[in-house]
């Protein structure tokens, strides 16, 4: 028996792509994130797991228990799968109080038991003093917590969350990322979460499944997938800011030398197939350090003279567009930009460590 979700299925919509889950596995430990752009099929996959949509063909199992099997025509209905589902807009009943919304799923239980369980969840999620409020009297973040509370109140075996933070404004979303992850871990219930936001995917997930046009492109631990995309489509989806086409000129002592427009880069020669010639270099903006021209020697193997083209704020950080003879992007704190007096036209040196350049054979 494979613990957690094990699923392979196809789901077809009349006017959309075929959604194909191929050996989708979500373990019982931690948070699995289905990540991809709008229309990539992630919400459909989640709804198929919940039993809210039925695939045309395939199988879905949880802890070895068959939830769906097209061959034997077995379909366990959503209510019997014992999953907690948090929809994108939380779908709170507007005419019910917080306590009544949370307790709604506890049908069939005595009033005393129901009250005790609701109080327990309310305390745990810090919703005390809000129990008598109606949903429209809550902030976005509080509504999100009520949605989560309603999903977990019946002690589900699996939690499914569809873009749980997307209805919130940016500052609240950023604040709640860490909070939501610790809540999910505290619960000890395996969770599958859908998001199109790469920061959310990185902040909330343990395992990442990258989807595009209905297909699973890459799966693995979050950091592995983000730092080592297996192809250009994944690199684009996970938001690798700089992707350059170069030619491999040498591999020696585990290091690869790659020429891009006459500039030689040094990268680790991991997983390069023999005979590789053209390669894409993937560089994440957060791995680029900028120093003043003529700075002291440093261990970073890649040292590029660059001109600042533009600066743009991105949350607490600044995104810097650089021209090195090819475009390069860096993500720095505002304080760093001030200290280096960065402005359009300034000359700087960009430093990138060899292990921070990921090579994808073309």
């Amino acid at each position: 028996m494979t613990p957690g979700i094990q699923a392979s299925f196809t789901k077809r919509f009349a006017d959309g792509p075929v959604i194909r889950a191929e050996n989708l596995h979500a373990s019982t430990n931690g948070v699995t994130v289905l990540f991809g752009p709008s229309g990539s099929g992630k919400t459909t996959m989640l709804r198929c797991l919940a039993g809210l949509e039925q695939p045309e063909a395939g199988q879905i199992q949880f802890d070895g228990e068959v939830w769906f099997d097209s061959d034997s025509k077995k379909i366990v209905p959503a209510r019997k799968r014992n999953t907690g589902f948090v929809p994108q807009d939380y779908a709170l009943f507007p005419h019910l109080t917080v306590a009544a919304n949370i307790g709604y799923g506890l049908y069939g239980q005595s009033a005393t038991k129901k009250k005790a369980r609701v109080s327990e969840i309310v305390r745990w999620l810090g919703l005390d003093k809000l129990e008598t409020r109606l949903p429209h009297e809550l902030s976005g973040g509080q509504q999100q917590r009520v949605g989560l509370a309603r999903a977990v109140v019946r002690r589900p075996r699996l939690l499914l969350l569809d873009e749980p933070l997307s209805a919130l404004d940016t500052p609240t979303r950023q604040r709640l990322r860490g909070e939501l992850r610790s809540q999910l871990l505290q619960l000890g219930i395996p969770a599958i979460l859908v998001t199109h936001d790469r920061y959310e995917a990185a902040a909330l997930g343990d395992q990442l499944v990258v989807l595009d046009q209905g297909l699973m492109l890459q799966t693995g631990p979050v950091a592995d997938v983000i730092n080592h995309p297996t192809n250009l489509a994944v690199a684009a989806i996970v938001g690798t800011e700089t992707v350059l086409l170069g030619h491999l000129t040498r591999v020696s002592d585990g290091l690869a030398t790659v020429n891009v427009n006459g500039h030689e880069f040094t990268a680790l020669a991991e997983d390069l197939p023999s005979g590789a010639n053209a390669v894409h270099l993937c560089i994440r903006a957060e791995d680029v350090i900028l120093i003043q021209n003529g700075g002291a020697p440093a261990s970073a193997r890649n040292r590029l003279s660059a001109t600042v083209l533009a600066l743009a704020p991105e949350g607490p950080m600044m995104r810097i567009e650089l021209d090195c003879g090819f475009p390069l992007k860096a993500l720095l704190t505002r304080q760093a930009c001030d200290e280096l007096a960065l402005k359009a036209g300034a000359s700087v040196v960009a430093l990138i460590k060899a292990p921070h350049i990921h090579l994808i054979p073309r």
């Binding site: 350090i289 120093i291 193997r301 704190t333 304080q335 280096l340 460590k353 292990p355």
Partner: protein
């Protein structure tokens, strides 16, 4: 030298473990406080790193993980 990385920690090289591709450099930045860096063997040679030499650990803020006691 001005640089964008928010953390620049001065220390003395306590140990260098040289491998064929990379070296593990241990920098003591305060008594009993050490930082370990993996750099290429090429860089170790180019910077003429050796035990006892003063060097700096440079870490971007985005690379620092924060943990707390249970």
């Amino acid at each position: 030298m001005k640089l964008s990385a928010r953390n620049v920690l001065k220390g003395k090289i306590k140990n260098i473990k040289r491998g064929p591709i990379s070296s593990l450099v241990v920098l003591e930045i305060a008594p009993k406080v050490q930082i370990v860096s993996t750099i290429t063997a090429e860089s170790t040679a180019a910077l003429k790193l050796k035990k006892g030499r003063t060097a700096y650990a440079v870490i971007k803020a985005s690379s620092v993980m924060v943990g707390v006691d249970e």
